[in-house]
């Protein structure tokens, strides 16, 4: 009947019987939409980064003297000591991204129903699939990328600050730069973000599903049933299988995706093949796909609450 959006190039101002059409990018703009609404996606990691940097700044008082002591240790221990604050900063930001991602998902399909704006979004030619996938892409793609960039920037500031501090005390900054493998660290970080996002995908999918379903208290609806099952199992059978499964879903990526040194968590070996052959990864991804598909299906029936 009418020309589809791809048939006619943009012909501004000309009104023809076939109706004006222009190329659209519903997914791209839906992701922007999420960023406009949820500024916590980048503000929260930025605030944590500033706090981390401030803490680091304070902790570097007396660094030159301490560095001299540290360098007397055996190389492995010296390296671990010098690297420590960089890893701590990265972990705090990764943890922040997880918290932001979970709370984002718990609100993503709820806020549009709460403020009735779902009636506006549904008046536009954007499918439920596009909408839900754009929301799922926030914790799975956007947040990891944003957090990665912020971690790298934070670590660069830390490195530069340490170098300047050491040089003003007549020391060489080389002890920092050789012991903090910056580029290698970036690669590990990127790999880590992919591994974590895939492992946590069912958590985000579940949160999205609950946010589209619950009328209120999405956090409680998402968490209490799981705790209930765990306690029920403990009381009835005296076991903690379900609880340990949940714990594995939170942290279980680490032993599969990485091989750690015997004495420290620094500079782990990457084990992507082992990770990809972990059944927990694939079972989790199947659950994630089911939860997201259910969230898409469910949004068709949803209106304001």
């Amino acid at each position: 009947m009418n020309t589809s959006s791809n048939d006619t190039p943009q012909s501004a101002g000309v009104r023809d019987p076939g109706y004006r059409s222009s190329a659209t990018q519903p997914f791209y703009w839906s992701v922007w939409r999420e960023l406009w609404e949820n500024r916590a996606i980048y503000v929260a990691p930025l605030i944590v980064a500033v706090v981390v940097l401030f803490g680091f700044l304070v902790s570097t008082a007396g660094l030159p003297e301490r560095r001299q002591t540290v360098l007397l240790l055996e190389p492995g221990k010296a390296r671990a000591a010098i690297e420590m604050p960089y890893n701590a900063a990265a972990m705090m930001l990764i943890f922040t991204a997880f918290i932001v991602g979970v709370f984002y998902c718990l609100d993503a399909l709820h806020s549009e129903r709460r403020d009735r704006s779902i009636l506006f979004w549904k008046s536009l030619p954007v499918s439920d699939l596009t909408t839900v996938l754009s929301k799922a892409s926030i914790p799975l793609v956007i947040l990891p990328l944003v957090t990665f960039a912020i971690i790298v920037a934070t670590q660069v500031v830390m490195l530069l600050w340490t170098s300047v501090l050491l040089m003003t005390h007549g020391m060489s900054p080389a002890s920092t730069w050789t012991n903090v493998p910056f580029l290698q660290g970036c690669l590990i970080l990127l790999y880590g973000f992919v591994a974590i996002a895939l492992w946590h995908a069912p958590i985000y999918g579940w949160a999205l599903l609950v946010s589209g379903w619950a009328r209120r208290a999405t956090f409680l609806w998402a968490v209490l049933p799981l705790l209930g099952i765990g306690f029920f199992e403990k009381i009835t059978f005296g076991t903690w299988h379900f609880a340990s499964m949940l714990k594995n879903r939170l942290l279980g990526f680490a032993p599969h995706a990485f091989a750690f040194n015997a004495h420290s968590i620094d500079c782990p070996q990457l084990t992507p093949l082992k990770y990809l052959s972990t059944s927990g990864l694939w079972v989790g991804l199947i659950f994630a796909a089911v939860f997201v598909a259910a969230a898409v299906w469910q949004r068709r029936y949803r209106g304001p609450i």
Partner: protein, 303 residues
């Protein structure tokens, strides 16, 4: 092809019947006013037309099945489902970016030109705008979309008279042409009387009156009857009678105007008068239990 065509359209929520087998045909280029009391099924009917709720029976909008072809349909259909559904956090420019980015038939320049005539600033957030300005903003977006069907559900509820008047003036002068179709529900029927081309009353999930406005003008006559002629007037079987300042005003359907002119002062009834007449007659007849409230999909709060 009719813009909207429904046969036996039916929708139930549990044991309550929201739509009880509606037959409906809206041709291209018409402006249909859907009028009914609260809980009559208006919003349910619109939701079915917009593919927001599943239904039983046959329904085609622009030749498509709204529930199963919703994504395709929404390129040709616009709607304002309620006042104040624009998200409060969004900036005017972001809203324009978004709609331009997702809607193949949106003309951004047109929307901006319309907004330039208002006091809305492009950098404002929706939460900083008054209710009337939010309605103007939504109208600016909708008018810049080259849609074939526009559905308006109480688009001016809660706005002051100036905004309401301006809303319909803009719609008629800058938007409507005979290749478009508009369906509007409103409780402020006086204001749309001269806007509509067709009228439909709906009550308890059924259509109780359906006519074009030409038909309305030729069929219905209101007479302020002189006291001495009241008995004669009543003999002509008026639809409705109401007292106004001690005199009787009778509403007639299909009665010769010259005959009525002899009884008193003849005038054009308002839609509101006809509505009251039809609804009170309708209520007198035995009916199934009323639908308590208009319900949206599986879940909707109070209207």
């Amino acid at each position: 092809m009719a813009t909207i065509e429904a046969r036996g359209l039916r929708k139930t929520f549990g044991t309550t019947i929201a739509l009880n087998g509606i037959d409906l045909r809206v041709e291209e280029g018409r402006i249909l006013g859907l009028v009914g009391p609260n809980g009559a099924g208006k919003t349910t009917a619109l939701n079915a037309i917009l593919g927001l709720t599943p239904y039983q029976g046959e329904l085609k909008v622009l030749g498509r099945d709204p529930w199963n072809e919703r994504n395709e349909l929404m390129r040709d259909v616009s709607f304002i489902a309620d006042v104040a559904v624009l998200p409060r956090w969004v900036r005017v420019t972001q809203l324009l970016d978004y709609v331009a980015g997702v809607h193949p038939r949106f003309d951004r320049a047109k929307a901006e030109a319309f907004l330039a005539k208002t006091t809305i600033k492009p950098t404002s957030k929706v939460r900083e705008l008054s209710k009337g300005m939010v309605a103007q903003l939504h109208l600016a977006l909708v008018m810049a979309i080259d849609a074939r069907l526009l559905v308006l559900d109480e688009p001016t509820l809660g706005l002051d008279i100036l905004y309401r008047k301006q809303f319909y003036d803009s719609l008629l002068n800058d938007y409507f042409d005979h290749s478009r179709t508009i369906v509007v529900t409103t409780h402020q029927v006086e204001e749309v009387q001269d806007v509509l081309t067709d009228l439909m009353f709906i009550n308890r999930g059924r259509i109780v009156l359906q006519c074009s406005m030409e038909e309305f003008d030729s069929r219905y006559v209101e007479v302020m009857v002189n006291p001495e002629h009241v008995a004669a007037a009543r003999a002509l079987k008026p639809l409705h009678e109401r007292p106004v300042f001690g005199r009787s005003v009778l509403l007639f359907d299909h009665v010769d105007r010259n005959q009525l002119a002899a009884l008193g002062e003849v005038r054009r009834p308002s839609i509101a008068d006809l509505f009251v007449a039809v609804m009170s007659n309708n209520a007198a007849q035995p009916q199934p239990p009323p639908v308590p409230s208009e319900t949206y999909g599986a879940s909707k709060g109070a209207n």
